[in-house]
């Protein structure tokens, strides 16, 4: 099941499947290490404000709009995340 990154709960992990956006946008994300096939971990998704994720060993904060454009496959399904 593939969903936008923004729907993942705190502390879950997922693998990036696709990123939708213009060239510059996608390129910027690639430079930060967010590429299809990469595993990421959500550090903070709840509450207002940007998302905080861990990717390739570093912590990155992303605007929620960006979180809508990154599509991932979660590693596991929990009752709160069907």
């Amino acid at each position: 099941m593939i969903i936008p990154l923004i729907y993942l709960p705190d502390y879950s992990t997922a693998v990036i499947v696709d990123i939708k956006g213009g060239r510059g946008f996608v390129r910027r994300l690639y430079e930060m290490g967010l590429t299809p096939g990469t595993r990421i971990r959500i550090l903070k998704s709840s509450g207002p404000g940007p998302l905080l994720i861990e990717v390739r060993g570093s912590r990155i904060a992303l605007g929620r709009g960006i979180g809508m454009k990154i599509f991932v496959r979660p590693d596991y399904i929990t009752p709160s995340n069907p």
Binding site: G57, S58, A61, G63, I66
Partner: protein, 668 residues
């Protein structure tokens, strides 16, 4: 062959410790300026070793070299056109995987590279083990482990730099799985053209296949560019049929290589770090913002308190010197020009008195940034401030402005996006600084009694309100455009470097003195001349009522009639351009009373509504000349500086008018 002079460039991601290494290598022999045509700092310096001189340029920190941002263009152009002998790629050992993306791009450029594997102590603390020899073998370049703040590894780094520069061994490239054939194909075509003389063929091939607009523009002047662009388009098409997107395919190939290298060289056990724990508190949805405000407030209190005695001393010193030398020449005009209240000596003192404050604030800001907390601050404030037209980091100049707008405008430098930075700079003067507070507190009580505090508070809020309104309008009109995607990296927290903070504070202060100092001195002189030149005789007068500035005040009087101003208020406002504190003293002088009596005097001449209008005007009209100089310096444009002036006066006048008209209508 021993070289006399070696050109070295330092490259690397932001937050890897590049400035520390630069400072350690160049020490006092460094110079900070601007990259031509840009508002980004250019740091260059020298390091002597064994009879050779290393000329070192610190390139802006970048995550890659794909010409998406100003920093990347600067870094890339420097390497291509200035052709440094060696590029030192500074890599964060605790963050190797992401850092290697830039490393690979540097290797693509075909330049001589030495890698400084920095923050080895942090890596050790996070239980990350790196096989340095294996890493060096995989990347085919020398890798030197370093711990920059301790100076560990730097001697060896310098030796490797010299070796590399003098050995003349051609750098090797790394093959990219899956796409290498396409790259090689295009590269062969390029080798047979003129382009190969300026650009590395393989690098150019990769860039063209990635459809890099900046590179395409760069080669357009060359003879065979059309031919090569056609070939590139053709090969790209084939790549797209196979992979879907050529650029993605190449980026993926890079990460494939990185993955392979990491798996062979790095062993790590990911655990919760101290940084994570601190972030739990600092990023909490309820505590985050209050914690930030407390920290910012204490930082600035510290800076203001520590620098105040020095500022006062400098001001007093120059006033004393001027006082002693007063009357020296015997010609009153010249005396006042040099030694008078608005003369050169006191003017110099005024400029210098800002320096301790700027130094203290920038010292503290450097620690704030270096510790890693600033990224969190930007994160926490971004959403609330975005709604108001500002960026997350704009919180910093907004708070510093409460003390003084001059360092506040300079602190806008922490905002990476140019448009956001300009907005923060232009709107900052609306924030009430302590100088204006002096004037307001002096007269508020006489007019408003127990409401004095409320009146002053609402003036503060009015200032902030205008900041937001202006920012939103600017964002929707002149600065409208695609927002840079909000992505911030959170470096691990670390003990900030004292050394770096000292260097940065010194750089900023001396830049202010040189650049802004001239404007301030000139402005002071002009006002000074206007204040002491008698209207009828054009010679010296010690009575400001007869001076040119009074003439200006009287002639502008009709314009200000709707506001119920008398010409003296106008003149005081003109003096306020010099420094907002002076408005009080100027009014006192013009009304012929002392500063302690002026409030009472004015309360006999004006109604509370009129004075409220005047206070609003003083709060909002042009910034003081030092702030204006800072705005000019940091915005790099006279156009925006002029806008700030005109916009401020217009808003001040309009609001003053509204308050006075409506007020009298309602209260009579």
């Amino acid at each position: 062959m021993k070289l006399k002079f070696i050109k070295v460039a330092l490259a690397g991601n932001p937050n890897v410790g590049k400035s520390v290494i630069f400072n350690k290598l160049t020490g006092a022999r460094q110079h900070i300026g601007n990259w031509p045509g840009k508002t980004i700092d250019k740091k260059e310096g020298f390091h002597r070793v064994d009879g050779r001189e290393l000329y070192i340029v610190d390139l802006p920190g970048t995550y890659s070299l794909t010409a998406f941002s100003v920093e990347e263009v600067i870094a890339r152009d420097y390497i291509i056109y200035e052709k440094p002998d060696v590029v030192v790629d500074i890599v964060d050992a605790s963050n190797l995987e992401r850092n290697l993306y830039l490393t690979l791009q540097l290797i693509e450029l075909g330049v001589n590279i030495v890698i400084a594997l920095n923050k080895m102590d942090l890596a050790r603390k996070e239980k990350i083990e790196i096989n340095v020899d294996e890493l060096s073998k995989e990347l085919k370049v020398p890798v030197v482990p370093t711990i920059a703040p301790k100076g560990y590894g730097l001697d060896r780094l310098v030796r490797e730099i010299v070796n590399m520069a003098e050995s003349r061994v051609r750098p090797e490239y790394i093959e990219y799985p899956g796409v290498e054939d396409y790259i090689r194909e295009l590269s062969k075509y390029i080798e047979n053209t003129e382009l190969a003389r300026v650009f590395n063929p393989r690098w150019l091939a990769i860039k063209l296949l990635e459809n890099d607009e900046d590179v395409i523009k760069k080669i357009s002047g060359f003879e065979d560019s059309k031919y090569i662009l056609e070939k590139a388009g053709e090969i790209r098409k084939r790549m797209e049929e196979r992979f879907g997107d050529a650029e993605v395919a190449i980026a993926n190939a890079r990460y494939e290589v990185i993955r392979r290298i990491i798996s062979k060289t790095v062993k790590a056990v990911r655990k919760i770090t101290a940084s994570d724990l601190i972030d739990q508190a600092v990023l909490d949805r309820y505590l985050g913002i209050p914690i930030l405000f407390v920290i910012l407030w204490w930082m600035f209190q510290f800076a203001f308190t520590i620098s105040a005695p020095f500022s006062d001393f400098l001001g007093d010193l120059f006033a004393y010197i001027a006082g002693i030398l007063a009357g020296l020449t015997g010609y009153p005009y010249i005396d006042y020009l040099f030694f008078g209240d608005y003369g050169i000596i006191q003017g110099l003192g005024a400029v210098l008195s800002f320096v301790p404050l700027i130094m203290a604030l920038f010292f503290v800001l450097a620690l704030f940034e270096d510790s890693g907390y600033m990224a969190r601050a930007a994160f926490v404030m971004d959403r609330p401030l975005r709604k108001l037209g500002l960026s997350g980091r704009a919180i910093i100049p907004m708070i510093i402005g409460i003390g003084c707008n001059v360092p506040a405008v300079y602190s806008a430098r922490v905002i990476p996006d140019e448009r956001d930075r300009l907005i923060a700079i232009i709107t900052n003067p609306f924030i009430m600084c302590s100088a204006r507070l002096v004037f307001f507190s002096a007269i508020a009580y006489a007019f408003f009694r127990e409401y004095a505090g409320d009146v002053i508070l609402s003036l503060y809020l009015l200032g902030y309100l205008l900041v937001f309104v202006t920012a939103i309008i600017l964002k929707k009109t002149i600065f409208r455009g695609v927002e840079a995607p909000f992505i911030i990296e959170f470096p691990a927290y670390q003990k900030p470097s004292f050394r770096v903070a000292v260097v940065r504070m010194w750089d900023r202060a001396s830049l202010f003195f040189r650049k802004a100092g001239t404007i301030i001195l000139i402005g002071l002189l002009v006002i000074g001349i206007l204040a002491i030149t008698d209207v009828s005789t054009l010679s010296f007068t010690s009575n400001p009522e007869n001076s040119l500035v009074a003439l200006i005040g009287r002639s502008l009087q009709p314009l200000f009639k709707p506001l119920n101003w008398d010409w003296r208020l106008i003149v005081a406002a003109i003096f306020g351009f010099v420094a907002k504190e002076i408005v009080l003293g100027a009014n006192a002088m013009l009304y012929g009373v002392s500063e302690s009596e002026i409030a009472v005097k004015m309360s006999k001449l004006y109604t509370p509504i009129d004075v409220l209008g005047y206070m609003i005007f003083i709060q909002l009209y042009i910034p003081c000349i030092a702030t204006l100089a800072a705005v000019r310096h940091e915005s790099g444009s006279w156009k925006w500086t002029l806008f700030t002036v005109l916009y401020g006066i217009a808003i001040a006048y309009i609001l003053n008018f509204i308050v006075v008209s409506v007020g009298h209508l309602v209260f009579g």
